[in-house]
Symmetry: C2
Subunit: 147 residues, 2 copies
DNA sequence: TTTACTGCAAAAGGTTTGCATGGGT
DNA sequence: ACCCATGCAAACCTTTTGCAGTAAA
C-alpha cells in the first residue's frame, strides 16, 4: 500500500501543482496523530513543533487532501469544521457527548450495504455517508441530575 | 394530537415567556410548507408574505422551536444551518446531490434499534442521530461524463 | 408596572480571498 | 523565467449580541 505522502505527491504531480514543504508538513502532522482534528488545533500543533505555516495555507492544503481522499470532513455541529484522516481506515461513526465533548468511535457494519442499496435504489454515485450521534455520556447524565 | 401551535404555546407558558405575533408567524410559515428550510429562505418567504420579522428574531425563535422539539437541525455541510420540521413525522435521512442540490428523503428502519444498542453499550442518553449521505444523482453523473 | 421581545447595527467567529513576495519547476 | 504557493490582512458570511424602544403579562 502506498504511503500517504506518495498518494499526495502523485496527486500533486498529476495536476501540475507544486510540492512544498508547508503542504507536506501539514500532511505529516495530520497522519502522525491519526485523530480528529480541526484547523485551530492543527495550527497550534504545527506552531509548537516550530513549523512556519499560516492558517490560510492550512485551509488551502486541506482542500487538496479532501480532494485526493486522504481526509474527510466530519460534522460535529459546533460551528466549525472537523476533519479526520481516513486513508487506510475503515469508515466509522461518532457518538459525541454534548456536555463534555467526549467522542466514542464505533463501527456500523451494515453501512456499506446500506450505501450500495441507496446507490442502486436512487441511481446515485455516493461520495460520503455520515452517521453522527449526539447525546450525553453517563457521568454527564449523573451531573445533570444534581441540578 | 396537539397542533404545533398548541405545543409551542404550552412551552411558552410553562417557561414564563411571551406569546408574540412574530414567533407564531415564523412557526406557521415553517409548518405550512413542511420542508427543509434555512434562515435565509424562511426570511424571504416571510417578507414576501408581508410579515415584518427580522433575522435576529428568526434565529432567536428557532432556538425555542428546537428546544421544544418541533424542529431539528440538519447538517448539509454547506456552510450554514438547515432545519426541518419534525413534529408528528418519523425520523428520516437525506441523500443529497452535491451537484444539483436535489434531496431524496429515505427511511432507515434499523436506526431506532441502533440507537438503543448504542445507548445501552456506551451508557449514553441519545439526543439526536443523523444519517446524511452525499453523492451525485444520475443526471448529474451523466453530465460529468461529458466533460 | 414589570420585564421579555423586537429591530437594528455592531460584533463575533470561522473561512476565503486579494495582493505582493517568495520559491518550485 | 514562469507562475504557483505563501503569509498577511482585509473581506466575507452566517450567527450572536448590546441596546434602546415596544409591548405582553
Amino acid at each position: 500500500m502506498k504511503s500517504e505522502l506518495e498518494i499526495f505527491r502523485e496527486y500533486i504531480r498529476q495536476r501540475g501543482l507544486r510540492r512544498t514543504p508547508e503542504r507536506e508538513e501539514i500532511l505529516q502532522q495530520i497522519f502522525e496523530t491519526h485523530e480528529h482534528f480541526d484547523v485551530d488545533g492543527l495550527y497550534l500543533r504545527l506552531k509548537q513543533k516550530g513549523a512556519k505555516v499560516s492558517k490560510a495555507s492550512i485551509y488551502r492544503a486541506l482542500r487538496l487532501f479532501l480532494d485526493c481522499g486522504l481526509i474527510r470532513e466530519v460534522d460535529f455541529s459546533d460551528g466549525h469544521w472537523h476533519y479526520e484522516y481516513i486513508y487506510g481506515h475503515g469508515p466509522h461513526c461518532h457518538l459525541r457527548c454534548l456536555s463534555c465533548g467526549q467522542i466514542v468511535e464505533f463501527e456500523e457494519p451494515g453501512l456499506p450495504l446500506l450505501q450500495e442499496r441507496l446507490a442502486r435504489q436512487y441511481g446515485y454515485r455516493i461520495a460520503d455517508l455520515q452517521l453522527e450521534v449526539k447525546g450525553y455520556c453517563s457521568p454527564c447524565q449523573a451531573e445533570q441530575q444534581d441540578d
